[in-house]
């Protein structure tokens, strides 16, 4: 009897050990493929493999929560099944990878409960920045290289790899506003040839040649809105109906609204030419003095 038991044990050991090892190898391969890009480096705040401090919070909710996070993703940044590369994994394979990762920090898990804990709570949204975006003065220096522009970190190794604006826009038609580049004229003269579609270099948008004239109060020249120059860059749905209701007389537009980043100010004053270029929009001279309506 005893000898039989020993033989069975040895037999099982010999047969099953390679199976277990093979499984381990597969799990490691799945980890390398789908998880390592973040969990090896700590990208995006991912807990690093084998770093007990980083895993303390994730494992505090137990394995159940970890499985759920790995399978469904988290608002913190974990993509479901690790993203594109992990989509082909089955749920059980994902769980096995979680086990593999947790196994590296076994000591931390020791005191954690086994069951899934609290539901993921919805994060409140950050307040939207709402700038007064008029630009009446040019800053003294324009088109500074990333390392000198005051917002890039010069100590960051990636900053040095970024193309300096002056180099990128050297061939374009220069102006004295915005990027110091006249994008519309540059496009018309084919100095810049941006793609209309992401993957199709030959695709062209539908250009709509229709001017809309708006008559502002007082002596300010009329605004001529050219659909043509806008549809060369944009699609109808970029502006309609969220920003402008496509119906005559339906939109209340004023300079204060624009300067607060609404209506035209969604782009003008931020990326499209700034509102300091009054005459670019207010371009049609008023021909008649304002009529007096009704009897005095």
């Amino acid at each position: 009897m005893e000898i039989k038991n020993i033989i069975t044990t040895i037999f099982l050991g010999v047969v099953l050990a390679p199976v277990a090892l093979a499984q381990q190898v597969e799990v490691k391969a799945a980890y390398d493929k789908a998880c390592a890009i973040c969990h090896m480096t700590g990208n995006g705040g991912a807990p690093r493999l084998g770093d007990p401090a980083a895993w303390k919070e994730p494992v505090s909710g137990g394995l159940g929560r970890l499985y759920k996070s790995a399978l469904e993703g988290t608002p913190k940044g974990m993509p479901a099944k690790g993203g594109v590369d992990g989509r082909s994994l089955t749920d059980n394979e994902v769980r096995a990878v979680v086990d593999f990762m947790v196994d590296k920090v076994r000591d931390v898990l020791k005191d954690a409960p086994e069951t899934a804990s609290s539901m993921a709570t919805a994060k409140p949204l950050a307040p939207i920045n709402f700038n007064f975006n008029r630009m009446l003065r040019q800053t003294a220096k324009r088109n500074l290289a990333p390392a000198d522009d005051g917002i890039h970190d010069p100590a960051n190794d990636g900053t040095a790899l970024l193309q300096p604006p002056l180099q990128g826009m050297a061939e374009l038609v220069r102006s004295n506003f915005g990027n110091n580049t006249d994008w519309v004229v540059s496009l018309e003269s084919k100095k810049v040839t941006p793609r209309w579609e992401r993957t199709n270099a030959m695709a062209e948008g539908i250009v709509m040649d229709l001017n809309i004239v708006r008559v502002p109060k007082g002596s300010m020249p009329n605004v001529v809105f050219p659909h043509k120059q806008h549809t060369e860059w944009l699609e109808c749905s970029n502006c309609h109906p969220a920003i402008f209701i496509p119906q005559k007389g339906a939109n209340q537009i004023s300079m204060p609204l624009i300067m607060l980043g609404q209506k035209c100010g969604v782009c003008h004053g931020k990326v499209a030419f700034p509102v300091s270029q009054c005459a670019k929009c207010h371009s049609q001279k008023k021909e008649l003095p304002p009529k007096v309506v009704g009897k005095l």
């Binding site: 522009d149 793609r195 944009l234």
Partner: protein, 143 residues
Amino acid sequence: MTTEKRKLKVLSKLWLLMLAIGMTLVAPMARGEYGDVVLNKQAEKEGMRPVIFPHWFHRLRFTCNVCHNENGFKMRAGSNDITMADIVDGKFCGMCHNNEIAWGLEYCHRCHSGLNGLAGGFYGSQAPGTGPQPMDALQKRRH
């Protein structure tokens, strides 16, 4: 004579002090290129530098249509909640930054390149020395 000299010395010191204060006030603040957007809803909280998105660089290569229509970026600043999870999943930036159309996600520091502490929003479009402000700050100042 000596008192006058002393006065002059004090005055010159005062001028130096004022000059120093003036310099710090005039000192260049966050500028950026016209159209630069800082994204910092998640980045710094998660231990990465804020992301700087240069509109000019992308405009050279793509029309607004590509990102604001195909890639799903809403037009209004602050209305897109972008996470690395989405990007890895092939959404938003990940529509192009996938090593097929543009360089992939292994180059973290090309995007996460901003100075820590930058508020999200547009840069390069304000009068010199003013950065983006949250709406509540704007309202407080008005009242």
